[in-house]
């Protein structure tokens, strides 16, 4: 058949284990004795952008946090199930959370640069790892800043305080900070909710650029952003995964009535 538009989107049912960046199996999470995630199973494809959408409190941030075990910071936290990244279970008893977090980077809603220079911010993770060689650090900083499309703006003031950067620059710095560790997976928790629309577009473009090397999971309240930026999208409601499919289908022809109601703004 003649095809006008070339599109290589794997449907979610076709994703094999090898193609999955994160493989979540029957995950249940309780925070402060309240069940937040209920039997989640999802296979997030490698080197693609997956968006998690849903109302506030639906558990999408908790799901994101369970990929790098940030939930552990909550003292009243309990969890059941498996999250496989590559060939290891994140919730295995032997797993080192600090080590895991170097491979699963995370960027938060509000930029939270450390009160240090830009340079120190970017190589914070590497220094924690014990990297001392100045050459290695220099290279890593330059690469990370270039990947985050920030190098040209800050190359002359690497040793100025990171707090002097604008909001958008700070958020890109946060991305660079995570990228300096060369993570396999990048988790973004509403990365643009504190930014203006144009800066948001720049960050989104940056994200789609990064997806060439990284598996990206993005939590967002902004449906249009999810539609614009993602390859796959998952809709969650009250701790349940309602629908997970490629975003072309999800945003034009969702399979579930609940999803359609949510994305068309008919939610009761």
């Amino acid at each position: 058949m003649f095809k006008l538009f070339e599109r290589k989107i794997l449907s979610v049912d076709e994703i094999s284990r090898a193609q999955a960046g994160i493989d979540v199996r029957d995950l249940n999470v309780w925070l402060s004795n309240k069940k937040v995630l209920n039997n989640i199973s999802i296979r997030i494809p490698k080197n693609r952008i997956t968006a998690l959408i849903g109302q506030s409190g639906c558990g999408k941030t908790t799901l994101l946090n369970s990929f790098n075990r940030m939930n552990d910071l909550n003292k009243k936290h309990r969890c059941q199930g498996e999250v496989w990244i590559g060939d290891r279970n994140v919730y295995d008893k032997k797993e080192q959370t600090a080590n895991l977090r170097t491979q699963v980077g995370m960027v938060f809603q509000t930029p939270n640069p450390f009160p240090m220079s830009i340079y120190e911010n970017v190589c914070f993770g590497l220094r924690i790892q014990g990297q001392k060689s100045r050459r290695v650090l220099d290279d890593a900083v330059e690469n990370a800043l270039k990947q985050a499309a920030l190098w040209n703006e800050v190359r002359d003031r690497l040793f100025d305080s990171a707090l002097l950067l604008s909001g958008g620059q700070q958020q890109r710095l946060m991305i660079a900070r995570a990228l300096a560790l060369a993570p396999e997976i990048l988790l973004l928790d509403e990365p643009t909710s504190a930014l203006d629309p144009l800066t948001t577009l720049y960050i989104e473009e940056l994200i789609s650029e990064l997806a060439k090397h990284c598996t990206i999971v993005i939590v967002t309240h902004n449906m249009q952003q999810a539609a614009r930026v993602s390859d796959y999208a998952a809709f969650m409601h009250q701790g349940e995964l309602i629908e997970f499919s490629d975003s072309d289908s999800l945003f034009t022809m969702p399979a579930k009535q609940q999803t359609e109601d949510y994305i068309t703004g008919r939610y009761g």
């Binding site: 790098n68 940030m70 910071l73 003292k75 600090a98 080590n99 895991l100 977090r101 170097t102 980077g105 995370m106 938060f108 509000t110 939270n112 640069p113 450390f114 009160p115 914070f124 993770g125 924690i128 790892q129 305080s161 707090l163 002097l164 946060m174 900070r177 995570a178 560790l181």
Partner: protein, 514 residues
Amino acid sequence: MVNQDYFKFKQSMVEAISILCMAILFIFLFAMVVFIGLQGARYFLPSAVHSVTLSYPQSLQEEYYEISYLSAEELAQEYQTRFQKQFRFENANIPQVSVRTEADVVHLKTHLGESILGKVRTLTSPESNTLNLENLDDLLATTELLKSELGEVQSTILQPLHQDIATLLQQDVAKDSPALQEKYQQFSRWQTYSNSIDQQLAAYTIELVDSHGNLRQVPLASMESIIFPNDLGFFDGIYITFSKMMAFLAQTPKQGATSGGVFPAIFGTVLMVLLMTLVVAPFGIIAAIYLHEYAPDNKTTALIRIGISNMAAVPSVVYGVFGLGFFVYTLGGSLDTLLFDDNLPSPTFGTPGLLWASLTMGLLTLPVVIVSAEEGLRRIPQGLREGSYALGATKLETIQKVVLPMASPGLLTGIILAIARAAGEVAPLILVGAVKFAPNLPVDGEFPFLHLERQFMHLGVFIYDGAFHNQLDSQTSSMMFASCMLLLVIVFLLNITAVIVRKRLRDKYERNQK
């Protein structure tokens, strides 16, 4: 309309009352600072010496010199009012007061801290007896030369000889051995020489007549300063003020803390505070870190927090009693039996001293440090910790690299507040080691250089003691005021440093932070 007027009235009343309260507060604060400052500053300014003559109706006459910052008329006026009160019921007995200010009165101070008021009668030197005070500088220079020669002989020749003899004697050398004999001979020869210098020095004297007509002869060698307080030029005044300040800061107290300086008290205060900081800073900060970062969020922790706040409210004298009972008697006593067995029954650590004072003050200021350090930790946004964790840092690394540097303003503030508090505290220190007069500084050239068991002087205690025992003497009580002013200045300086340091660090670490 009425309602609105009433409302407006109520508003303005509230405003007026709060302004009034604020104003009263400020007036008191201002008055305190001005009062202490003026009284303290007076100690340093040169004051006149008046001759006061009281003629009683029974034809008795009394004459004496009085140092006063008042002018002659004012002093006479003051006497009048005082007598009018004193002889309220026997008006006839009021003595006549005449106050004169004579230019040739001198104020002489000896090295021992004694001050003599009087008029110069003679200036004696081996060559001449004159009244010519213009020669005084030459004579002083000569005595200075002789004194330095004497000092040199004593320190470079006599002392080593003495030591040599002592070592020889220790080595059980026979009393009549030639070496020892030679040393003895040398020693006596030099001894004679130094005696001769002494005698020469004694020949230089100055003779004063005091108000009662008594003669006072003072060797020039033991004279520290001589001034004509009623005949001072402007620059002389400034010079005297500065030299008095220097003496106040650098000398030890003399004449039962009525003259001299307060150096040992400053030194003792600083040293005690330093030791206390060494104890309280790590303990307080570690405790705050545990409470805020590690402690589970439950009732026990809440109870501990309440306990700490209450600790801050415990009267300081209770800490003093605790320090005496626990540190000095219990801990010090057992330390003595364990380590300094051979000195018993005279105690080494079993008596109030620097170490116990520092520990007691540490305990007293610990709650302050913990509370403000925890406050500092609480100010750090959770997002930063999460950011650090997300980059693979462990809890310890996060605290080390992110939390502590950012919390440093709060931590420092706590420590400086503690220092200011310890510098001004009196009651507990009296119990655990601060004394009115300590013969030795706690630091000297003798091993182990820092003597933690020694008693020490403390500014607060010094003021308390001085104010308590010397109420009547105007000169010494103004020395207390001077000490008070010094203490105020020190505490203010510490607090201002705290504010500046905190602002600096905040600028560095907290810009743009929510």
